[in-house]
Symmetry: C2
Subunit: 337 residues, 2 copies
């Protein structure tokens, strides 16, 4: 059955039922929900904590191609970017509004799979899908707004990095970009590596829990790695008016990337992007506390400097400056794949 067979209102009904059936509405967030999908707006009871809002678009043939990602994983991946943005502020994601644009000949089963993947990840963090919009379009466009809040004493910002702080990153880098390349070019590696790289690209995990721990432990400056390590660190440096030095040998490259892309592993880790790890700065003392408090790896990769404001200096094992690799992916200037 095609989307055009059931029409816009039919599709809205179907997706609303999916969002309602999922336990996402029976969560803490859901208790304060007054109206979900089905009226002119969603409505819920507010609170006096700091409110957070972020929006992100995935556009077919720009951000993804349907030949290398199934619909369900596409739904998962679509909402990851938003959840990760909330994580990078140290917040708790609570509500999502999903705007879908689809060709009329899209299979209804594909749309419900997309929604299922989205709900699956949302449910992990008790995020309720409370609204949205569907339209016809010549290509698939997924636009998600996530609202969250932060009940701590402060939020994590890009502008709070200070000279002499250490720079650290959660998890490992490069696997999402490596997975994209592997899938696009049809590269064959051993099954274990292929599983890891495929999953890193299709179903990245937002560091929502870790972001909240960073705040609790006293971190003040953070960003999530969506554009790439160097590009995102540059965002911190520009906003904070500081510089940064990265010792590239300390960058935690995912082992499957190092093994299968020996010549390009560092480039993928430094500028691949979409790993959705958290990049943050803090004093040595706070770093130690963070390492103990989180259950994922945390690696110190460099430090913040007063000089070279807005710039990233990359150092090799001998302390020599190395040429800056391409600084992330600028949507208008370069192609996705």
């Amino acid at each position: 059955m095609k989307v055009s067979d059931i029409g816009e209102f039919g599709l809205i009904d179907l997706l609303d039922k999916m969002a309602s059936k999922a336990e996402v509405r029976a969560t803490t967030a859901g208790e304060e929900l007054i109206i979900g999908i089905g009226d002119d707006t969603a409505a819920w009871r507010g609170d006096t904590s700091v409110q957070l809002a972020t929006v992100d678009s995935l556009i077919q043939d720009v951000h993804f191609t349907l030949d290398i990602i199934p619909w369900e994983e596409l739904g998962w991946r679509a909402i990851t970017a938003n959840l990760s943005d909330i994580a990078a502020m140290g917040g708790r994601p609570r509500y999502a509004l999903v705007s879908l644009a689809l060709p009329g000949d899209t299979e209804v089963a594909d749309v419900t799979a997309l929604y299922k993947g989205m709900i699956e990840l949302a449910r992990q963090f008790e995020v309720a899908i409370i609204g949205g919009d569907t339209s016809r379009a010549p290509l698939v466009i997924i636009n998600i707004t996530v609202l969250g809040n932060n009940e701590s004493s402060h939020i994590l910002t890009r502008s709070a990095a200070r000279p002499r702080e250490k720079v650290a990153v959660t998890g490992h880098l490069g696997a999402s970009a490596a997975g994209l390349e592997m899938l696009t070019k049809g590269l064959q590696f051993n099954p274990g590596a292929m599983t890891v790289l495929t999953r890193a690209f299709r179903q990245p995990w937002p560091r929502v829990v870790e972001g909240q721990i960073l705040v609790e432990q006293g971190v003040r400056a953070a960003i999530d790695i969506s554009d790439g390590l160097v590009a995102d660190l540059k965002h911190i440096c520009q906003a904070s008016r500081v510089g940064a030095r990265i010792e590239i040998d300390r960058v935690p490259v995912r082992s499957e990337v190092a093994a299968n892309f020996p010549d390009r592993a560092m480039e993928l880790a430094l500028s691949g992007g979409e790993d959705y790890e958290l990049l943050f700065t803090a004093s040595t003392e706070v770093m130690e506390r963070v390492k103990e408090a989180v259950s994922c790896p945390v690696t110190v990769i460099g430090d913040i400097t007063a000089e070279n404001a807005g710039e990233i200096v990359l150092l090799d094992r001998n302390g020599n400056t190395v040429d800056q690799v391409s600084a992330g992916w600028d949507h208008f200037s370069r192609r996705a794949s």
Copy 2:
């Protein structure tokens, strides 16, 4: 200069400066704003009133074509739909997140004009643009999320209509659809009518002030007319499990529509859509209070019935049932123009 010449980050910088320069941030809403555009999320101090959120997409060649609407008016029209949704809940719009997808060869001047039109209308209601997202795409896609709140004792919903209430509508109907048709087909009318119809299509006015007055005066059920009078009344009837009777001769057709589309004026008024007037139900007593309190026309066009739940009955001047005209525009089943 093209968008691809300044890149994604260049474009974000430019749009952020426009949003900052506009006084929209120096409004009541702005005072509670902690972070606008430029970090991972926007952030502001919450309050305990009812929070409202709505999202709406405009897609090139589906919802608009660039030959019949200039960029600045496109920006205005894009945000109208969202502001109108907040109005239909009796709320006050406060913050907007704007997600733009554009071909790389779009002129930067066109994007800034789009943004200017959006800011111009947002400013009328003290709405601050606090975040967004830009992407490259093969066509123009404008996705706007508006957040608002309602500090009254209740909100306006689709599900609160009760039998024996009167059905009323603000303003006049049919001009937006008539304007679209006039511009698409290049029809020529007298200059005054052309100005009215062009403006109704390109720069519709959301009934934000009126929505709040409806709540204050005790109205409980409302919707904004985006799909068309009959289709939107049907949404109320289905959500409220009631029926409705409309006396079509009482429907306030815009005079320029009646004069220039004599055969089709009623059809345009009943199912044209995108007039962004408010359609609501209330007792005769409340209706009288509303008429006195608002400065725009309010016309009673029918009543709510216990029978025929979910259905709209159209009556002519003799009280005879007339055939239902096409019930609004379903995005997947029919074309825009």
